[in-house]
Amino acid sequence: MAVTEHAPSGARRTVRPARHTAKRWNPNKRRKSWKLTAVMTLGLIYSLLPLFWLLVNASKTQANLFSTNGMWFGGHFALLDNVRQTLTYNGDEFLHWFGNTLIYVVVGAGGATFLATIGGYGLAKFDFPGKRGVLAVVLGAVAVPSTALAVPTFLMYSKIGLVNTPWAIIIPSLINPFGLYLMWIFARDAIPNELLEAARVDGAREWRIFFSITSRLLRPGMITVLLFAVVATWNNYLLPLVMLNNPKLYPLTVGLVQWDAQSQEAGGAPIFNLVLTGSLLMIIPIMIVFLVMQRYWQSGLTAGSVKQ
């Protein structure tokens, strides 16, 4: 990614500290600590090592996986061949799953972000009875891990006949209490009431205010919520595992596990090389999304941390 400028675009409004005049305490000019550097380096290695391992092993043939050193390249460099095989194995299964994941992410995470934004804005800027109750429910919902909801959701969906359909994945993904909470807090601080009043005085209707004014001011928050939702939907495993029976509907997560399970079937051919290559291919899009959006992500994370 060619992100050369690290300053968040939102921060351009603020006056940059004048570098040469600053004699006072400057957070950027603290003494270097070799201890801290060492710890950070360890942390870096710890987080990059699995990725490195994945890359190394995705470049090996099934036979070489176990006969060569796992931490370094060895034998025939088969990455391209593995990629080709992964994409074409069992009738383009991988591409099909990739498409499914994409649909679940675009509709699910996109919808979740929209709903969280509109809901958060409504809660922050409109008064209505029962608002405190909503707050309590949302805060409570944040505390419940989605994994714990998979089974009750299944039982409910089986009653209404949504099991084994894409909706079984998409609808639960649309509900994102954490995102709603975040947008609520963000909207409360990011949108001046005076601005809304001015818009209303000028005769703008509420929808127009939302789409033309509010949604632009809320963008950093939206991106943060979107990133959270994209990552959660992209990596969603338990819900599709429980909900879907038909491999044609599987997302990549469940599909790759099915490939992996093949090695443990009597008579099944182990295709660990394709599982590894598939995993590598699967993380590339999510890495790109992160790199593209990281500046919004950073500014979004600190939203609400300073009272203006």
Binding site: A63, S158, V257, Q262, E265, A266, G268
Partner: protein, 457 residues
């Protein structure tokens, strides 16, 4: 060979199991009339000719199966019956599929017409009423085509509930190179086997006679081979668990000698480490089902030429050959099927000459006697086994499987809690017999909660 996923892997996949456990518990109910839907064509109206007629009409059935050979079997079936479309779905293998099946039954929708179900799991679906009885479909005439033990496995509570596809009569797979190197004799009794285990590990501490970290599928098969019958099922809801079963005690005492002395490699089955050990000979033998050769060839290629097959050791020297089934799959017509006649027709194709021939040609170990005894099957001499005619040994094993075994109608769950008791005993190198008793009691308690009348002896 279809099926037979080693049960050992089951609890390693934690997430899947969490869901499996929760949903299986929700879905399993001893007395449920579950399944919904009507059982079309049941009773005396269904027979060979009505099946034949149904196969000529335009229809579609859905089959859930994971056996790799099924793709070609389905293709052959569709070629022979062009009006029938088979929608073959791999809904996961073994417990993954059972969970999904249980879920679909619970949901009352999305239930396939035919499902691949391993023998050990069949009673769970049969006794819950989820499976269509095949009595009266003319399939009982096939009885003489299979061994008594196979028929025992598919005839649950007096009803024919499924047809067999692959089987896993057990045999002793051993690494001849290692046996020669360390001067071991190929054991014919379990005492000799233990003696080999001691000698091998003493000669080289990296070498183990076999690996076993506590696998319920293996343990129950070994108890079966020891003549044990710890589980009896009578009627749809009455179960007896015999914690003082003689066969159970016999196997436990034998295996204890190795387990408590650390003579069993603590590498879990079906891991890459395990396949490496099989390839390089640090795991010198394997007592397992006849479907194993194909897996050795694909996943432990390094051991090519070293491995041989011998009959399973017995408890008395010169005793008659005895084996047990380990793994293997049956195919059941689900009660919710709206096209049971076509489903039964597909099962008949699968379990008889046309389907079983494809299975055997693609590395599966069939159930059908006529293939097991055919010269083309017996004469195969794979290079992996140094040109040994291994099917002669394996077919003989199939014929020597002891009849009369039955699994619990909640064996899938019981196997999932095996590590809590017996697995712990393996870890701590303590008495297997005591742990088996704890396990049986825990299984019985679960059965009781599910509405079975469980008698613990």
């Amino acid at each position: 060979m279809t099926a037979t996923i080693r049960t050992a892997r089951v609890w390693r996949r934690s997430a899947a199991v969490v869901a499996a456990g929760a949903l299986a518990a929700a879905g399993l109910s001893a007395c449920s009339s579950s399944g919904s839907g009507t059982s079309a064509g049941a009773g005396s109206t269904a027979n060979a000719s009505s099946i034949a007629a149904a196969l000529q009409k335009k229809s579609t059935i859905t089959v859930w199966a994971w056996a790799p050979q099924d793709k070609d079997i389905v293709a052959a079936f569709e070629k022979q019956y062009p009006n029938v479309t088979v929608n073959l779905v791999n809904a996961g293998s073994s417990t993954t599929e059972y969970t999904k099946l249980q879920n679909a039954i619970k949901a009352g929708s999305g239930i396939p017409d035919v499902a691949q179900i391993e023998y050990y799991a069949l009673p769970q679906f049969s006794l819950a009423g989820s499976v269509q009885s095949l009595d009266g479909y003319g399939l009982d005439s096939l009885k003489s085509d299979y061994s008594q033990a196979v028929w025992d496995a598919i005839e649950v509570n007096g009803n024919l509930d499924a047809v067999p596809q692959d089987t896993g009569p057990m045999a002793l797979f051993y690494n001849e190179k290692i046996f020669k190197q360390y001067g071991l004799t190929v054991p014919t009794t379990w005492d000799q086997y233990v003696a080999d285990a001691v000698k091998l590990h003493a000669a080289n501490p990296n070498e183990y006679i076999t690996s076993d970290t506590g696998d319920p599928g293996f343990a129950t098969s070994m108890i079966w081979q020891a003549g044990g019958k710890p589980y009896t099922v009578s009627g749809a809801t009455s179960v007896t668990v015999d914690t003082k079963d003689a066969g159970t005690a016999k196997w436990a005492a034998q295996w204890d000698q190795m387990e408590e002395k650390g003579l069993l490699s603590q590498v879990s089955g079906w891991t890459t480490q395990w396949f490496n050990g099989l390839g390089n000979g640090t795991i010198a033998t394997l007592v397992t089902g006849a479907w194993m050769p194909d897996n050795l060839e694909t996943s432990a290629a390094a051991g090519s030429g070293d491995w041989r097959v011998a009959p399973m050791p017995t408890y008395t020297s010169g005793g008659t050959a005895a084996s047990a089934e380990n793994g293997g799959s049956s195919y059941a017509v689900m009660k919710a099927s709206s096209n049971a006649l076509v489903a039964a027709g597909f099962e008949q194709f699968l379990a008889t000459q046309p389907g079983e021939t494809i299975l055997a040609n693609e590395g599966g170990f069939p159930a059908l006697n006529s293939i097991l005894n055919s010269s083309s099957f017996l004469d195969q001499a794979p290079a992996y086994f140094g040109g040994q005619k291994i099917n002669e040994v394996l077919s003989a094993a199939a014929a020597s499987v002891l009849p009369g075994w039955s699994y619990l109608p909640f064996q899938v769950y019981a196997n999932s809690i095996f590590p809590d008791s017996v697995g712990k005993a393996y870890e701590n190198k303590t008495d297997i017999a005591a742990a088996l008793s704890t396990w049986n009691n825990a299984s019985a308690t679960y059965g009781q909660q599910q509405g079975f009348t469980v008698t613990v002896k």
